[in-house]
Symmetry: C2
Subunit: 297 residues, 2 copies
Amino acid sequence: MTNTAVERLLQEHVPVITKTMIDHIESVDCPKQIKEAMLYSLNAGGKRIRPILLVATAKSYGNVSQAAYNVGAALEMIHTYSLIHDDLPSMDDDDYRRGKPTNHRVYGEAFAILAGDALLTESFALISSIAEDEMTPRDLLWLTKRLSEASGARGMVGGQVEDIEGEDRSLTLLELEWIHRHKTGALLEFAVEAGGVIGQAPERDLEYLRTFAKHLGLAFQIKDDILDIEGDEALIGKPTGSDTSNKKSTYPSLLTLEGAKEKLNQHITTAEDALERLSIEADDLLQILHYVAKRDR
Amino acid sequence: MTNTAVERLLQEHVPVITKTMIDHIESVDCPKQIKEAMLYSLNAGGKRIRPILLVATAKSYGNVSQAAYNVGAALEMIHTYSLIHDDLPSMDDDDYRRGKPTNHRVYGEAFAILAGDALLTESFALISSIAEDEMTPRDLLWLTKRLSEASGARGMVGGQVEDIEGEDRSLTLLELEWIHRHKTGALLEFAVEAGGVIGQAPERDLEYLRTFAKHLGLAFQIKDDILDIEGDEALIGKPTGSDTSNKKSTYPSLLTLEGAKEKLNQHITTAEDALERLSIEADDLLQILHYVAKRDR
């Protein structure tokens, strides 16, 4: 499926987000090996879905300031660090990501760990150096707090912990949802919430934005599981059926394929409903929802 | 050497600093395995020299608020995460720290990496949740910025990178000093600077405080190198002479033992001079300087 509205969003914002990350890291006065290792993973591509959601939300409220790109870049740096650490031999032990050797395959395990640590740390350096005429210190501090909560033990890291813990047994639907809501959902919720705050959305909109993000994230995961069963390997770029052969708990394994599709549709509907309750038109967010939930790759 | 003034400082502040860290982590709603792994390393002891410096500096300006303990706790959490990651098999591969099994020996490598990540992240969560009536959002944001700079690629992580890079060759004195100023010096400088800001020290004092911290840090390292040669194994609690057998570049190996002692005295004198230029009496800081530079263990 091509979604021209989303393609346009990506074309408009992805280069700016990437440039913001690269420029920040290039500006850091540090040993060249660690800079190179950080830049390698930041330049390795990826959908940039988190910062795009953030910028699109801010834009829905009429704001596309450099602050939105800076916070989006900080968020993507955290996502990137988490991928570097997830790929390590003691975690998922992956040799390739997006067709390129993983960070530790190129720079060694020690530097990959340190590059991840440094990216996480630089994310907070980037947010806290946003100029006061872009955002108030109070709002920036609030973003720092929320980002650290979303990415730490009560968010993303906690999700990764439970994912590892649950590897060798069948999960319940509740457990599976908990893992997704933390491992990937927490940063997606931060993206939309931060976009709302940067766009100065009214307080009651923030609640609907969080609901939207939560269901968007779950729809994304369910779609991933469904594509692993009936997706086109040529389009996805990796073999399908890996979840089944890994005996991994997935939505289809717990709900059947039909049940998973029904669940997917429920989340899409709930997310759409949340968008309709906003005080503004949020067509870009609706397009992103359809893009991630109805994609064929 | 016993230094009763410093013993008193430690007795007064270490329990509060430790409690602040533990209470913060206990309050985090997260999987129990990761909470346990974080608490294990926070409870493993250590001199708490960084938060003590921070609190003692703030106290020199008449301030020992909970904010000083909170920022000190955040700083010690970053120091603790760095030890967990440094001990990993792909880094220093240490099985014991302070007589206890290292984090990855107890919780496995994956959880040790994640516990480090989570502690680093929680450090920013702790600072950004300090109440506005304790410190202004502007000051808290500034502390966040400085802490991320001190602990990231331009500070501590950068020092660790160069330390690894320099392992297999002789370093010049300049290179050795660069590594120490980054790997350990950056957090020490942050400690003293943050204490000054929390104590609302006048601007020109901050410069002298940074000078003090810089020379305190170098004195500390040189003393470490000297103790490795002529220290009493029973007092230090580990075998001496390890630097020589490792062919590690140290101050004595580059300057001779006598030269290293002379260098140590120069740093102590410069640090003392900086303290004398402060607008206030800083007897606690002077005592800490003598404690770390003249210790016999």
